[in-house]
């Protein structure tokens, strides 16, 4: 038995020692069923396949995680921008996980907008106008960075509140989506 497995078993033991007699009996039954899954020999699936199925099954009951959040942030951004039907259906966990990659993508593709257009779009989406002296040195990337700084200064709850509309607006911009797709193809 390796150290990792020892540690998991010890955790189960510690948690089980605080349970009532009824809950202890239920836990023993559950572990027995789990052992049957591991012993199951259906001829086609290996033990690791079965464990993946078990993991998928139980992840459905965990409200803080969805199938989407199991994906990497890049996968989530890919999913968001390639969703051609335009139906937005993100969980709160998805939206939280998307914030960092979204801003990274926005800053590196900001040039698809003029600085003033981008400022108008971000100002409306974030319900906040940042004073910017637009001159020939002002770039769209600067605008994106300033609004990102403002976004980071918000409380987490405020960020979560404004992020969905922000992401919807930016990802609905055809030039931005094309720019992301083009950069992906070049990788």
């Amino acid at each position: 038995m390796n150290d990792k497995l020892d540690s998991v078993l010890h955790t189960i033991y510690i948690r089980a020692s605080t349970l009532s007699d009824t809950d202890k009996r239920n836990l023993v039954k559950a572990l027995d069923y789990f052992a049957r899954i591991l012993r199951a020999d259906d001829g086609e699936r290996s033990m690791s396949d079965n464990l993946i199925r078990v993991n998928r099954y139980f992840s459905r009951f965990n409200p803080s995680r969805s199938n989407q959040t199991d994906k990497s942030s890049k996968d989530l951004l890919d999913f968001a921008r390639s969703n051609s039907h335009g139906k937005w259906n993100f969980s709160k966990a998805d939206l939280k996980a998307l914030q960092a990659p979204f801003w990274k993508a926005l800053e590196s593709n900001a040039e698809v907008w003029s600085p003033r257009e981008l400022s108008n779009l971000l100002s409306y989406s974030l319900r906040q106008s940042i004073h910017i002296d637009f001159d020939e040195d002002t770039t769209s990337k600067t605008v994106a960075r300033l609004y990102h700084e403002y976004f980071r200064s918000l409380e987490q709850s405020e960020r979560d509140h404004v992020f969905e509309e922000l992401m919807q607006r930016v990802l609905s911009e055809p030039e931005f989506r094309h720019s992301l797709a083009y950069k992906d193809q070049r990788k």
Binding site: H85, G86, K87, W88, W113, E117, N120, L121, S123, Y124, R127, S129, E165, Q168, R169, L171, S172, E173, P174
Partner: protein
């Protein structure tokens, strides 16, 4: 204090101008106890139809006047082109009482009728605003004067813009709506060129909005980018079948069993309207 005036206008038809004008007027009167005058400046007279009882409106046509009569009787011709003020115009001859509560708000309507389109030919000779009807004394008796406009750039548009000097622009976020709203920008600029009046944009408000449609979000982005964030209402009025049903029943939205979210949305819209105007 003189009434705050606004023209509800867009060069595109079917964007919800009349529905918005009617619900806004009734909301201000019924729920906020304001004194509201709605002027129907559209020959199609949809605001009149939704605001009036058919029998009472027929009686009004027999006994009183519509906005079309204003253009007929505001001035009289004394030569081939020269116009002279006609007899005094009394607003009470035009008023249809849509809603009134003792000690509270009221919603008065100056109705329209199809005949308004036929008097348009003479409007180029005046009047150029509604001052003969809505003079300073009248303005002092209302909190709001709202004009429901036709979706065309005509002499009636000029009259509305000269009278209110501010505009509320309902818009559907689709390609036709975006085109109409862009035309609206041109109209305001031309009006400034012709009359030296650049009407204040109270705001563009997205109506029949569907946030889950990427095309709608994209089209609304175009307006936000072009007009700037301050010119666009944060509140969006989502598509809701109850608006149509309520109009058919000549009722306000909040008198129907519509979902509380839609009522709240209209509350938010009116609150934002009051801040902006």
């Amino acid at each position: 204090m003189a009434a705050k005036c606004v023209a509800v206008i867009n060069m595109k038809g079917g964007v919800g101008k009349t529905t918005l004008s009617f619900n806004l007027s009734l909301y201000l009167a019924e729920l906020l106890n304001k004194k509201v005058l709605l002027i129907d400046l559209d020959p199609q007279a949809n605001a009149t139809i939704v605001s009036t009882d058919p029998e009472k409106y027929s009686r009004h046509l027999r006994e009183k006047k519509t906005v079309a009569d204003l253009f007929v009787s505001a001035s009289k011709s004394v030569g081939p082109v020269k116009m002279r003020p006609a007899a005094k115009i009394k607003i009470s001859d035009f008023i249809y009482d849509v809603y009134s509560k003792n000690g509270g708000g009221h919603f008065h309507l100056v109705p329209s009728e199809l005949m308004l389109s036929s008097v348009l030919r003479g409007v180029s000779l005046g009047p150029y605003d509604l001052e003969p009807l809505v003079n300073q004394q009248v303005l002092n008796t209302y909190d709001y004067v709202i004009i429901d406009c036709a979706p065309t750039y005509s002499a009636l548009t000029t009259v509305a813009l000269n009278s209110t000097k501010s505009v509320l622009i309902p818009m559907i976020a689709d390609s036709f709506g975006a085109h109409g709203t862009k035309l609206m920008k041109q109209v305001l600029e031309e009006h400034n060129h012709d009359y030296g009046i650049l009407p204040k944009v109270v705001g563009v408000v997205f109506t029949m909005y569907q946030a889950n449609l990427r095309t709608q979000v994209s089209q609304s982005n175009d307006i936000i980018k072009a007009w700037g964030p301050d010119a666009v209402f944060a509140t969006k009025i989502r598509k809701n079948e109850w608006y149509r049903v309520a109009a058919g029943r000549r009722e306000a939205l909040w008198s129907t069993p519509v979902h509380a979210d839609a009522k709240k949305e209209f509350d938010d819209f009116v609150a934002e309207f009051e801040k902006r105007i």
